[in-house]
Symmetry: C2
Subunit: 414 residues, 2 copies
């Protein structure tokens, strides 16, 4: 991509009302644009990034046999009344005015009701179980607090997965598979997520599990063992910082602020009973289907990455989800520009993802913008580099000088 | 994909309130599920199909240099008031209840306001022009008529492209490029679209252009020349069926019902003046940016394909956008099933897109379901086929018998 043609530009100033680091950096670097409090457009660079995160999630969902579909944002009151969630969720549910009457349509902030109704058409027998379906769908939540940039949005895409089982054992097995898949997803996105026990919330009386990333930008507080995998949300925990770990007994408990990047819930038969999703088992009995739901917000993951991976100069994208892998800067005119263009064309032909800064800007501005945008590898062509290229990792401090062939070899090995 | 594991099933009955052919066939074949009038979920088969249509559109948009982004559904009243469209569009715009006050947020049914505001951040000089950006975004329209299945939805994805130009000449050139790109898109989707002159509607006083596909399912009426490319929407046309063509004079004018599958508008400076999107030209003058917008609804395209490509037995998908290219049916047990499974595994390994009907159903049901679902190529393994496979094109009437190697050769040539 030619940076001179990019729809967005880096901005010199950020709106004063943006306090979150992720919102400030992503706005300044031209990744997002605020429409309303908690409502952001994703500009071409941001769109590429969030689509890469979605693709990581999609691959791990497909790997555990889940099928992709897409449900609707507009939802009928009658359906939500049957699970008792039309009234209880009214603070978070946007409702729609139709001809001055009592609203009968709302905007989905989750899809348990919708998927349960759909599943009734297709699940009738134990032979139809288990099933798992997921979607990437825009959710609307009328959050009172929307001050965390793209970490807490009022309109956001969520990957929500729903699974349907005949037995609790089958649910438990699949639930563990999803847990592993989620850990893989966060790892691929450059995040170290802890599996944290939390309240089941409106869904269940059992613990649910949250995936939490330690960060001062977080709105959650967790306690966690410094040695083993023990971790609980402070809201449900009896344990305090400084205690010995109740699980391993080997280490102390620490406490920290964290961002919830995913959560998984065993719903049990709450929705299947309310909406009458039953199946016939091997001996002819009608039983409610056992369900679970699992959510990740790709935009929130993107915001959390920025909170965790940045320095005073800008963003530092992890390799797998960076909008482009290389940032090629042409620092000069004439021969330098001719050489840069040739390199850009050669790399593009080889299928490399390159953002090429061909703008008529000073070297200082180009270097500063490259740090702000934060692609993993910076390639510089200048009078100084001669017939070599200067290569620098955004997360490192050293540069090396490579010929084009050496560059190709270095990255084709990986 | 194993059909036994597919989340949806073919249905024996279709809800009586579905009158449109596309809604009836797509519901029965398990592609879509109705949530509200004009509001449909896309189930795994339907999701795959609409994503293929989106990919065709994306490729042709990228080919004309447009950049993908995604804007927001939630829109502020203040912005829409500045173009005068908060009130005039209230019939179609869903508005949101917030704490009993006058609504201040609506759901976008189009994005001219939003993109113009965003563009102000990045377009200041003639050097920043031209630009073109597009999105696939959920639009909400409170349509009074929503009886045409997925051809007229109240919640639907639209690909909307917006272009920004310094001069009318530059706009005209790009407008023609988009027109060609749109014709390519519809051709790849198996649709013969006519470029039809129509009213500029709320946007412009010039003609706009609609892309219309002749079909009795359509809500539009067009007149068109049986020989040349002349076509007009009946709403704006002075010409009648039976007249001589006013353009070529060589042939008669015909009239027909049609579905509008896309439209393109020259917006001129309507939005840039209202929202103050100006650029500085080469001699330092401030001028309003000249704009155009261009829309295609992938769901409507999918519905139109079904209206145009079906017979009494079911859907007939065009090759490029079919959810799977091959439908492999195992009509038998024992050896037949072992052989089918082997073929399925071999084809899948070779990267072929195959839906494999491994269900324990009768041959009659499997053949009927295959015709209903309508994948382009049907492969049958049965006791009768011996060591060959029976191949039939969904749109044809003849079958042929091929060895596995012959099958591979036949399709690797293409």
């Amino acid at each position: 991509m030619l940076q001179s043609q990019l729809f967005s530009k880096t901005l010199r100033t950020v709106p004063a009302d943006e306090v979150a680091v992720n919102a400030r950096l992503l706005t300044q670097a031209g990744f997002i644009d605020k429409q309303l409090a908690g409502v952001y457009s994703f500009l071409p660079l941001g769109y590429l990034t969030v689509k890469k995160i979605e693709q990581v999630i999609r691959e791990e969902m497909n790997a555990i046999g889940a099928q992709e579909l897409i449900m609707t944002a507009l939802q009928p009151k009658e359906l939500w009344k049957r699970t008792g969630r039309w009234v209880t969720t009214e603070e978070v549910m946007f409702k729609i005015i139709e001809k001055d009457a009592e609203p009968s349509v709302g905007l989905a902030w989750t899809h348990e009701e919708a998927i349960t109704e759909i599943a009734k058409r297709f699940i009738n027998s134990y032979r139809d179980l288990p099933r798992a379906v997921y979607q990437f769908q825009t959710k609307f939540r009328n959050e009172p607090r929307a001050k965390s940039g793209i970490i807490r949005m009022r309109e956001f895409v969520m990957k929500d997965l729903y699974s349907f089982h005949a037995t609790r054992e089958d649910l438990d097995t699949y639930y563990e598979q999803v847990k592993e898949a989620y850990l893989k997803i966060f790892q691929r996105c450059g995040l170290k997520a802890l599996v944290v026990e939390a309240s089941g919330g409106a869904f269940t009386k059992q613990y649910s599990h949250e995936f939490q990333v330690l960060s001062d930008a977080g709105e959650d507080n967790i306690v966690y063992c410094l040695s083993c995998n023990y971790a609980q949300n402070k809201e449900v925990s009896q344990v305090q910082a400084g205690d010995n770990c109740p699980l391993c007994g080997q280490a102390k408990i620490a406490q920290g602020k964290s961002v919830e990047v995913g959560n998984i819930f065993k719903l049990g038969t709450k929705f299947s009973e309310a909406l009458e999703l039953f199946y016939t088992n091997q001996v002819g009995e009608r039983c409610p289907v056992i369900m679970a739901s699992y959510g990740i917000g790709p935009g929130r993951v993107m915001g959390t990455i920025v909170e965790v991976h940045h320095d005073e100069l800008g963003i530092i994208w992890p390799e797998e989800i960076s909008p482009y892998r290389f940032h090629l800067l042409s620092l000069g005119e004439g021969d330098v520009q001719v050489k840069s263009e040739q390199i850009y064309n050669n790399l593009s032909s080889a299928g490399w993802e390159v953002l090429y800064d061909d703008r008529k800007e000073s070297p200082g501005i180009k270097l500063k913008d490259a740090d702000l945008i934060g692609l993993p590898w910076r390639l510089v062509v200048s009078a100084k580099t001669g017939d070599k290229l200067e290569l620098k990792k955004r997360s490192g401090h050293t540069t090396e000088y490579l010929s084009f062939t050496e560059l190709m070899n270095k990255f084709s090995v990986h």
